[in-house]
């Protein structure tokens, strides 16, 4: 006999989200959420990030931004576009090869994922960007949530034309309130185009930050991504990359800097859908205090995707006994002529190295900083633009010296 399925008991966060969905006119999603609830650890892709447990409450939906915080990261040469409280703001005259606009609705494709569904329901407008030719300045999308604690969704849709090249930096920050932000970026990389896409979460202490970065790579495209978590209380960045054209390559990297009280999650889904594509995934996690760092990485190789070459690596570094570093790499391979692999390592700072550095007069804190920097070099070194590299290094250094 089948057991009748019990309706889920809804918590305060779920109740609020359902009311907000209903208010936004999306009764279908409201209905769906009231049946399923937020994902628990029993949902595979949320195994280490039980949203039902972690998301205690949801602040009211955001209004227009009336105040402005400072940009979290300033790059002198960058062309900066602001999205405040989900709304793309007017921008300065665009440099050559950059077309800026905005469009109604969200940007992500359909995914069976609650954060994607919520973004799609709440993001009313997307910043749209078309990049053509060799785009010289770094494009910075500065996303901020201003004012009192709010639930905000933002979205950007970026097309990089065939044979073009561009570097895009996205930063997330805002007022010092317990916001819930749900951000989306859809990036289509054209044929033989080369794109570097970097996201840095610098939200303040109490924030819940969600981001979904979706990539679609055409033939011969080259993508380099780096996602950095250096803020928020709870954060999850989902990276969905799809190889749609042969000969494409992606370097996908992440840096999880997790401090006392934080729970920060990278969830990766790389889909090699066509033959002859390559990818390399490198994720580094550093944990301090009582904290939780999560990496889930899945590489899917479709039946036709022969000659796929994919290597995924997670390396964790625990700076305290109470830092938890979790890793779940998965390979789902349906083709037979492929080279795929994954590895996971976790450790503490090497005691002999610490002693050696300290024996030369270097303080414990500085020695630690030097070794952690060394550990992170592999993900920062490939960022070629000197100013950008310096800015990202500064983010890491700030985190290191800002120890609690």
């Amino acid at each position: 006999m089948l057991k009748p399925k019990m309706p889920v008991r809804l918590n305060a966060a779920e109740e609020t989200l359902i009311a907000q969905l209903t208010g936004a006119g999306d009764s279908a999603q409201a209905e769906r959420l009231s049946v399923t609830g937020l994902p628990t650890r029993r949902v595979e892709s949320y195994h280490y990030t039980d949203l039902k447990m972690l998301l205690k409450s949801v602040p009211p939906l955001v209004g227009a931004a009336n105040t402005a915080s400072a940009p979290a990261l300033r790059l002198a040469g960058a062309y900066r576009l602001l999205i405040a409280n989900g709304e793309p703001q007017a921008s300065a005259t665009a440099p050559a090869g950059v077309i800026v606009g905005s469009s109604d609705g969200a940007a992500l494709s359909v995914h069976d994922d609650v954060l994607v569904r919520l973004n799609t329901a709440f993001a009313k407008k997307s910043l749209s960007l078309t990049l053509e030719g060799t785009v010289d300045p770094i494009i910075q999308i500065d996303r901020r949530t201003e004012g009192t604690a709010a639930h905000s969704a933002s979205s950007a849709r970026i097309f990089v034309a065939d044979d073009s090249s561009a570097t895009i930096l996205e930063t997330y920050s805002g007022s010092d309130e317990a916001h819930l932000t749900n951000n989306a970026s859809y990036i289509a990389v054209g044929r033989n185009a080369q794109v570097t896409h970097i996201t840095v979460d610098l939200s303040s202490d109490g924030v819940t930050h969600f981001a979904t970065n979706e990539y679609v790579l055409a033939e011969g495209a080259k993508l380099r991504t780096l996602a950095i978590h250096a803020g928020s209380a709870l954060a999850r960045t989902q990276i969905f990359a799809k190889f749609a054209g042969e000969g494409a390559h992606a370097d996908i990297a992440g840096l999880n800097l997790v401090d006392d009280g934080q729970h920060l999650d990278f969830t990766l889904d790389v889909n090699h859908a066509v033959p002859n594509t390559t990818s390399q995934e490198v994720f580094k996690q550093v944990g301090r205090g009582r904290s939780k760092a999560v990496f889930q990485g899945k590489i899917v190789v479709a039946r036709d995707a022969q000659k796929t070459d994919a290597k995924m690596m997670m390396q964790g570094l625990m700076l305290s006994d109470q830092a938890e570093i979790l890793s779940k790499p998965e390979l789902e391979i349906y083709a037979d002529d492929v080279v795929c692999g994954h590895g996971s390592t976790c450790g503490e700072l090497d005691a002999d190295s610490m002693f050696y550095l300290m024996s030369r007069g270097i303080s414990r804190a500085e020695a630690e900083t030097m070794l952690v920097r060394g550990f992170l070099k592999e993900v920062l070194d490939p960022i070629e633009d000197a100013e950008l590299n310096e800015a990202l290094t500064a983010v890491v250094d700030d985190w290191l010296v800002g120890g609690k």
């Binding site: 005691a351 002999d352 190295s353 002693f355 050696y356 550095l357 300290m358 024996s359 030369r360 007069g361 270097i362 303080s363 414990r364 500085e366 020695a367 030097m370 070794l371 920097r373 060394g374 550990f375 070099k377």
Partner: protein
């Protein structure tokens, strides 16, 4: 009478449950260079690590004074700031740290402890270049990560380079001669001798009398089973070379 630079009194140290140092007594007056010789495993490196402040050891008895100041309560970096330097028997390779970054950090840490500002890049480059040249250190070596891929002899020369740059008042050299070719031994010895001065003392751990032809010691100590069992002038090293350690074993082997 002035204090010895280094004074070790009845030092006992253990690792896990094993006592390695069993009552070391040693005083090195300012300006003197003492050599320590002894069998493999007798505890010479342990002594050097305990002096430099490696965490693994438990000090069960005794004290160590550097220029009259108690050393054992200090962190390794504080000991360095107080003027102690250990040239490691096995220098550590650190892949993520550039050699030049490390040298500069060490020099700046020392300057900071003296209340001085950071060294300027040109001054730093000049200091490294000069010290490097006198030790025949290839500039390309310094562009690599710290000690990574250095040959055995290169590592030892890099240790002496650090010593020259930091100009400590108490230098401990743990088998700095091992792994050096004949020419390198001359070069390194010259470098060490250049650092000898009235204000500075040195403790040189070695297995080979040959080194002591180049670096002539004021006193030679024989180390056996965790303590110094005999001390004499440089002729003691010659005697050891000829007859081995059998005469000095605390218990007959």
């Amino acid at each position: 009478m002035t204090n010895p630079i280094l004074e070790i009194r009845n030092l006992h140290a253990r690792i896990e449950d094993r006592e390695i140092l069993k009552g070391v007594n040693l005083a090195i007056p300012a300006g003197e260079l003492h050599a320590v010789m002894g069998r493999n495993g007798s505890g010479k490196s342990t002594l050097s690590y305990v002096l430099a402040g490696k965490e693994d050891y438990e000090i069960t008895e005794g004290e160590v004074l550097l220029d009259g100041v108690d050393l054992l309560g200090m962190e390794p970096n504080e000991r360095a700031a107080a003027g102690l330097f250990l040239a490691f028997q096995y220098p550590i390779e650190i892949p993520g740290v550039a050699t030049m970054t490390f040298l500069k950090a060490a020099m700046n840490a020392q300057r900071k402890s003296r209340g001085e500002g950071e060294i300027s890049t040109p001054d730093f480059m000049r200091a490294v270049k000069e010290a490097g040249a006198s030790l025949n250190i290839d500039a390309s070596m310094l562009k690599r990560p710290l000690n990574v891929g250095f040959s055995g002899g290169e590592k030892k020369r890099a240790e002496v380079l650090q010593m020259a740059l930091l100009a400590p008042k108490m230098c401990i050299l743990d088998e700095t001669d091992s792994g050096l070719d004949i020419d390198a031994l001359q070069v390194v010895s010259k470098g060490v001798n250049a650092l000898r001065s009235e204000q500075r003392s040195m403790l040189v751990i070695t297995h080979y009398q040959r080194l002591l032809n180049h670096i002539v010691p004021d006193v030679v100590h024989v180390f056996s089973d965790g303590r110094i069992v005999e001390s004499g002038d440089k002729s003691l090293a010659l005697q050891l070379e000829a007859k081995g350690y059998a005469d000095f074993d605390s218990e007959p082997a």
